[in-house]
Amino acid sequence: MRAADRDSAGLGTARAIAFVAPALLLIGLFLVFPALWTLYIGITDYQLTGPSAAAPSVVGLENFTTALADPLFTNSLWLTALFVLGSAVIGQNALGFALAWLLRRARLGPRRTVEGVVLLAWILPGPVVAYLWFAVLSRDGGTLGLLLGQPGTAWLVEYPMVSLIVFNTWRGTAFSMLLYTSALAAVPPSHLETARLAGASGRQTVRDVVLPHIRGHVLTNTLLISLWTANDFTPFLLTAGGPNHRSEVLPVLIYRQALESGQLGYASAMSLLLLVGNLVVALVYLRLLRRRS
């Protein structure tokens, strides 16, 4: 009975391993191994071309100290923080919640329409979305310029970070909306009824009744979308980091250092710093998950 409990499908150890092996092989080859290899490349002077391409030498922590003193790197760190804060923590999060809250009692028609359009923005491929916003923000008759009566403004050049933040908010809001819609459905109606009878305003209800109830969802959502945003490479498609590094978020900087400048070691050191940041966020997320369950 014990053995049956441990292996209720009668797979047998050998077959069980055989079933897991293909997946583990790919994960090991393309996730675990690269992660470990970054550790090594990051402490070398490895370059794409030239003498240190053939025989890279270990330089210790030099890449890390260089990065932390490099104004381009610190610039990217700040821009990434701004990007995450503006488009994920505030943009997607707040707009997603607002939509879920506003639409919770709307009639089915309007509700389906809004949800459908927001979801479509999420499902469209990133490179296409970059083009859509290229068109909206263009100086040559772009929609925003026409709407605001300033057709000659090159928004992407003059306000690159604002453009990126709006772009990413547009792309990602659907996930937060979906998550908050199901979270709100789980708030006991009696709580809301009590708040209404006590004469609470909408804002008070949200602040004192709803948010405390769905705090776990808020934290999970914020951490997840922050992680995705910090690692998002699509800003490369919209502004390519320009003009003059003014929208060069970390993933874009890493790409340019590695593939355009050929500094593989230096770029790996930066990748590692991004990995560590990801790890911290993910560990916080896992802790929250465990506490909730």
Binding site: I27, F30, L120, L124, F134, T143, W228, L259, L275
Partner: protein, 273 residues
């Protein structure tokens, strides 16, 4: 119907209208520009023509890149779904010591080691394996990145398949492979469908990995070619780009409609990396 109520209703609809405009207006370009005789970046009613469509189909790389996308995504999706199904079944049914640790480690990995954070070693690895410019190799890299999340989601579905079904199948002499193929997977079909659609959409929109690993224009998928179209001659090729963007969007939009109709749009947990 107090005045306050009326004002709030009006405020509500104005707000909804603004939000709707914010999300819908950028998409309108995709509806008009492909069929406009003089396509630009602005929104306007198109001077109806199909010449852009003809131009796109005559473009040396446009159709080929869509085929590349299809091959890349089908391989990545098939590998992800098949490997994830095998692994999820095994992990669901056999209590290997340390299984929970393994699953948590997988979840952690998939969110921490992103394509962006690991792009240098992935590029170097593929370079040294001689797999740069290999569509099959790129598909495997994409599958490797999607597998942990896929296993995680699918295991949830497999966990909910009653074991008594499998036991009866075994009593009738079914092999484990037959149990998986004829009993477990058909019951976990919504989960398999979720993984299929999710991995296809993810692979279809993936830009970084193909951009990194497929340098030959003839092998690039649509995600990468869109950018090449823009670079051609320094300015955007507005005859081809709108039609091409539309063609490139259609498969995921169709999938979205199918999923929405059949299952409602309730993707589970941490999706879309």
């Amino acid at each position: 119907m107090t005045p306050g109520w009326v004002v709030r209703r009006i405020g509500f609809y104005v707000l909804i209208a603004v939000v709707l405009a914010f999300f819908a207006v950028p998409m309108l370009w995709l509806a008009g520009a492909p069929f406009d005789a003089r396509p630009g970046f602005g929104l306007r009613l198109p001077e109806w023509t199909l010449s852009n469509v003809h131009a796109t189909f005559r473009h040396p790389f446009a159709v080929r890149s869509l085929v590349n996308s299809l091959v890349l995504c089908l391989v990545a999706t098939a590998v992800t779904t098949a490997f994830a199904a095998l692994a999820a079944y095994s992990l669901s049914r056999v209590r290997i010591p340390g299984r929970d640790v393994l699953l948590y480690a997988l979840l952690l990995l998939s969110s921490v080691v992103t394509g962006t954070a690991a792009m240098v070693p992935i590029f170097v690895l593929m370079l040294q394996l001689g797999l740069v410019d290999s569509r099959f190799g790129t598909a495997l890299v994409i599958a490797g990145g999607m597998l942990p999340a896929a296993i995680f989601i699918l295991k949830d579905f497999v966990d909910s398949v009653p074991r008594s079904y499998e036991e009866s199948a075994r009593v009738f002499g079914a092999s484990p492979r037959q149990v998986l193929g004829h009993v477990v997977l058909p019951i976990a079909r919504p989960g398999v469908a979720t993984i299929l659609v999710w991995s296809f959409v993810n692979a279809w929109g993936n830009f970084l990995l193909p951009f990194l690993l497929l340098r030959d224009v003839g092998k690039q998928p649509a995600a990468v070619l869109v950018r090449t179209l823009q670079d051609e001659g320094g300015s955007a090729n507005l005859t081809v780009i709108p039609v091409f963007s539309l063609l490139y969007s259609i498969p995921v939009v169709v999938l979205y409609l199918v999923v929405n109709k059949r299952y409602g749009f309730r993707f589970h947990g941490g999706i879309k990396s």
